[in-house]
């Protein structure tokens, strides 16, 4: 303890000591309810994600996907129900102290006043994971290379395309060496070619790192490309949950209508006839 107190917080010391270890964590959600302005947005969500699994939550706009993600990462507190991340409540600061949870925001949420390199290295610098700037720079370069953005450290976010911003956001998340990674609409507002690039990056990371990943998306191309499991949320409830094949075979009319709209030819035609 120095004159001005501890030089590093408890989480900084934890981050430094176990930076190179990544332990995929599971998520347990029981009876999650949330209302905004008297309107239920999440209405009894039940979901569990085992460690190392990639779960994609699909659903239309305004069905509660992003709100669910904000609850899992502890940015919002439930009105009722529990969310456990690695056995700890998501709103408990101890959860973020013990596990490294990274999130890729729909808007990428890059810090516009910082360069790409500073954005990617921010967590490492703020938590004093390494002793020298050179070590931080090495990790930043490595993570940028993982998403195909070598040599961009000096660029400002304003100079990047939407797809590049998303990849920088992924690199920033990877620099944390996360135990759990959450993606909020990673391909929204991107053209199909760039969406495919992002999908490839996510699949590559999934294969290489075996992280627990939770992806929220209304993009079925992405969902079927990356998911171990797919769940559909509708009006704040999980109405279907299973492997990609099981989802395609699921007769739920709302699910089949959603698939048919986005992926003509892949939906369960019989269920669709029932709906019509």
């Amino acid at each position: 303890m120095g004159l001005f107190g501890s030089h590093r917080s408890a989480s900084d010391r934890t981050a430094g000591a176990r930076y190179h270890e990544s332990t995929p964590v599971g998520i347990e959600i029981r009876g999650l309810r949330k209302q905004y302005g008297g309107k239920p947005v999440l209405d009894g969500v039940e979901l569990s994600v085992p460690p190392g699994q990639t779960l994609v939550i699909i659903g239309g706009s305004g069905q509660g996907k992003s709100v669910l993600l904000r609850h899992i990462i502890g940015l919002a507190a439930p009105d009722d129900g529990t969310i456990l991340v690695g056995g700890l409540p998501s709103t408990d600061p101890a959860m973020r102290e013990r596990y490294r949870v990274a999130m890729i925001f729909q808007s990428s949420a890059l810090f516009n006043s910082m360069t790409v390199g500073e954005n990617v290295g921010l967590w490492l610098v703020e938590h004093r994971v390494f002793q020298t700037r050179r070590e931080v720079d090495a990790v930043v370069e490595e993570r940028l290379a993982m998403v195909g953005l070598e040599g961009t450290t000096g660029l400002m976010p304003a100079a990047l395309s939407g797809g590049m911003k998303k990849r920088v956001a992924i690199a920033r998340a990877l620099a944390m060496n996360p135990d759990l990674i959450l993606y909020d609409e990673p391909t929204s507002e991107l053209d199909p070619l760039v969406s495919d690039t992002i999908s490839k990056v996510i699949v590559d990371l999934k294969t290489r790192l075996r992280l627990t990943s939770l992806v929220v998306s209304h993009d079925l191309r992405l969902a079927f490309a990356i998911a171990d499991r797919i769940a559909m949320i509708h009006e704040g409830r999980i109405i279907a949950d299973g492997s990609p094949d099981a989802i395609l075979a699921n007769p739920n009319p709302i699910l089949q209508r959603f698939i048919a709209r986005q992926h003509p030819g892949r939906h369960n035609a019989r269920a669709q006839e029932d709906v019509l």
Binding site: F4, E97, F105, S107, A109, W123, E126, M176
Partner: protein
Amino acid sequence: MNGLVDGIIRALRATGGALFLLAAAAWECRLAPLHLPKILVQMTEIGAATLPITVMISLFIGGVLSLQTGSTLANYGIQGTLGGIVGVSMVKELGPVMTAILLTGRVGSAMAAEIGAMSVYQEIDALVTMNISPVRFLVMPRLLSTVVVLPVLVIYSDVIGWIGGGIVSAVNHRINIPFRLFMRNLTDTVEFNDVTNGLIKAMVFGVIIATTCCYVGLQTAGGPREVGQSVTKAVVASFILILIFDYVVTRILFL
């Protein structure tokens, strides 16, 4: 009636929130030595943004004060006391208040806009998910920088105001007090305590500006329109609080 009650509740809630933010930022100040580069960058930005305009405005404030007061004193033939009056007015009141108001417009508005935009574009959420305290990362460096830089700017303002007053008293034919005599009366009248109390006032204003503008910025939600509204809200609230605390601090320190 309901609107009035709602307004009072909102104001009390905002006051509580801002005080809580101030306490949290003050607690984070213990880690300031580890964040020195960030604090120095903030200090440089605040100083560079405000110093030129402070110098210009202070020169004219000192000049106008000298012109108005000197003309009246000349009617009674006591314009020899002008230096002391201008000197005391600058250090006790005009220097700290005018510089604080300039800093609010120039820097406080930028703080509210920057942090407000960060809130709207989920950058604050990104910090939280990375387990980086927004208070430590954003508020503490701004609070410390404002509290340190504002008194320095006030010293500049006081001195430049004195010079402005001295020049006007020397060149105006009705007042006609040589610059050297003006300054002698000023140094005879202004006490060291007057200067330090003015600087204490400036530090209080620095706390008000940084806390109010950061708090309003952090509360911003919506889009670019709300960022603009937050800037207006932050600047107006800071002005009002500066004037209220000007009275309170004056009552405590000078009377």
